[in-house]
């Protein structure tokens, strides 16, 4: 990784602000997904929240961008653009070591993770080796979205990268842990979805989001840990197989 000072000079001139809607602007910082982005995206998130204060309606950070929805009764479009540039000039990255590390116990099993064999076969691994590989990395939380508390995490090892299912499932159980391309994530609640499902966790994501306190925040790290069916059940985990759900 390059020293941070060098990156700062390189990045701070690179903020692009695009019109997204009548009262929303897209702040574009990067063109590719990289774990080192997060130090800048989080810093920009804080700087914009401070600069806009009560003029901010919503701010949604993602992998390379922040979508800023401002109050157009207080600011014009051009005033908002100016305020963004002012807030982000001389931005310094936050210390991403400060992000929390979450330990997520997962029961990896074909009954609740029907794509285990598919992902393993594509990677040329046994199922045990696949599980070991998926657990063998601290994943960065890039963004929250799609559903309350849903964290987009990555990047999974290139060998495990698997495209989304051709036809999404109508119902993916809450707690399902899946892979799509080089991303990995946990479904917070029962929802449709096309990710390759490897297992299930009993860690609540939705209840946290419902209280406004998501378990994950962008910049956090997540480590999956394989547990047995007994441990999963003892923890109150729902062992109903994926395909048998009503």
């Amino acid at each position: 990784m390059k020293p941070i000072t060098e990156k700062k000079a390189e990045r701070s001139t690179n903020v692009r602000v695009e019109t997204a809607a009548m009262d929303a602007l897209m702040v574009r910082l990067f063109d590719t997904i990289d774990e080192s982005n997060m130090a800048w995206v989080i810093a920009a998130d804080q700087a914009l929240r401070n600069a806009f204060g009560s003029m901010l309606i919503d701010l949604v950070p993602s992998y390379t961008t922040l979508l800023l929805h401002y109050d157009c009764q207080q600011l014009t479009h051009s005033e908002a653009i100016q305020l963004i540039h002012k807030a982000l000039s001389g931005l310094t990255p936050v210390d991403t070591q400060a992000g929390e590390l979450h330990d997520i116990p997962v029961w990896y099993d074909e009954s609740v993770g029907p794509e285990l064999p598919l992902v393993a076969k594509r990677a040329g691994l046994s199922i045990d080796e696949l599980i070991e590989q998926h657990c063998n990395h601290d994943y960065c939380v890039f963004a929250l979205g799609f559903a309350p508390g849903y964290g987009f995490m990555g990047l999974v090892d290139e060998a495990l990268a698997t495209p989304r299912l051709k036809t999404p499932r109508r119902k993916v159980a809450a707690g399902s842990v899946g892979i799509a391309d080089r991303q990995t994530a946990i479904y917070p609640l029962l929802s449709p979805g096309g990710w390759n499902i490897l297992g299930r966790t009993n860690v609540p994501l939705f209840e946290h989001a419902k209280r406004g306190e998501p378990l994950f925040r962008p910049g956090d790290k997540v480590r999956f840990r394989a547990i047995s069916r007994e441990e999963f059940e003892a923890d109150g985990g729902d062992t109903t197989p994926m395909e048998e759900r009503p």
Binding site: A20, A21, I33, C72, A143, G145, F146, P188, L189, P214
Partner: protein, 317 residues
């Protein structure tokens, strides 16, 4: 609880028959997009506000959004003045027709029924002081997919036996001036769109087609998104790195058929976009029945803001 044991304020409007979709809504849930929580809120926010205005309510008071009607009916347990705005869903009070965009009195035992759309798609029913419902993350908006909001905080639409109660007592009796009030879109409805995002990635031909021919509202339309059908639009991008999605975003998936993302949209997504409909256009689109022809009409952000402020001024008089 027996009716005799109830005191007056516990009495309310009881659901006798559930229609296809009746949801408690306010203006929506803001400041929580970074949690992955959708905005929600009344899809036709203009009619929603008129309904509250008719009773002299705060304009963000929780009201009912009723889609299609479909036989949804209520019986009241106590006298109340309610207001109705938005679509004409052939509403009847004890079998007698009620005009949309008016307030009316309901006496104990009387029955209110929402039948079928005659003009528009979504009606709003406002209650004195607003409906009683728990606030979740700063809003009473009911979002089904996220299981948030509504009477029991589980995002469920109204069902038979639900009892609606309200916060206020004697409401104002107001009439909407003749030249104002909600307009239900006719065919050929213009939808102002603020261009932006990945507009340059679309071919010249695609841009010409986008803005110079009518689009048809598809039956794949709900509170999350409305699909428009017409000639396929193509550009140099098929997908992009997932990024935040504003209200009204017109995204174009690989099949070239645009989808307008509405109140219950997912917070981030990865299809290229032409731009975003203005909030006023979103309100109009929310009233378009499948088959309606609509035109995308580019407008500048500053013009859109001026139109928006003008709309807000109407309720301040």
């Amino acid at each position: 609880m027996s009716q005799a044991a109830m005191n007056e304020t516990q009495k309310g409007l009881v659901v006798k028959q559930a229609g296809p979709l009746a949801l408690i809504q306010d203006v929506g849930r803001f400041g929580v997009g970074h949690l992955g929580v959708t905005q929600g809120g009344a899809a036709d926010w203009i009619s929603f506000r008129w309904a509250n205005w008719l009773l002299g309510n705060a304009l963000n008071s929780a009201a009912l959004e009723i889609v299609m009607g479909g036989g949804l009916s209520f019986e009241t347990e106590r006298e109340v003045r309610l207001a109705l705005s938005g679509a004409d869903l052939d509403v009847q009070l004890d079998g007698k027709p009620l005009a949309p965009n008016t307030s009316f009195k309901l006496l104990p035992g009387q029955r209110l029924e929402f039948r079928q759309p005659r003009q528009g798609l979504r009606a709003y029913l406002a209650f004195p002081g607003g409906l009683n419902a728990p606030e979740v993350l700063g809003s009473r908006a009911c979002t089904v997919r996220e299981q948030l909001g509504g009477l029991d905080e589980d995002g469920k639409p109204l069902k038979v036996g639900d009892r609606l109660t309200w916060k206020g007592a004697a409401p104002a009796v107001r009439r909407i001036p003749e030249d104002q009030g909600p307009q239900m879109p006719a065919s050929g409805c213009r939808l102002p769109i603020v261009l932006g995002s990945q507009i340059a990635s679309f071919s010249g031909r695609a841009l010409f087609q986008a803005f110079n021919q009518p689009w048809t509202v598809d039956n794949r339309a709900d509170r999350m998104g409305v699909r428009l059908t017409g000639p396929a639009l193509h550009g140099s991008l098929t997908g992009i790195i997932s990024e935040g999605i504003p209200l009204g975003a017109v995204q174009v998936p690989p099949d070239g058929q645009p989808i307008v993302l509405m109140n219950d949209r997912q917070t981030i997504g990865g299809y290229p976009r032409l731009g975003a409909l203005t909030p006023i256009a979103c309100a109009a689109l929310a009233q378009c029945l499948p088959g309606t022809e609509v035109w995308l009409t580019p407008v500048s952000a500053s013009q859109a803001q001026e139109d928006y402020r003008k709309q807000l001024m109407v309720w301040k008089k």
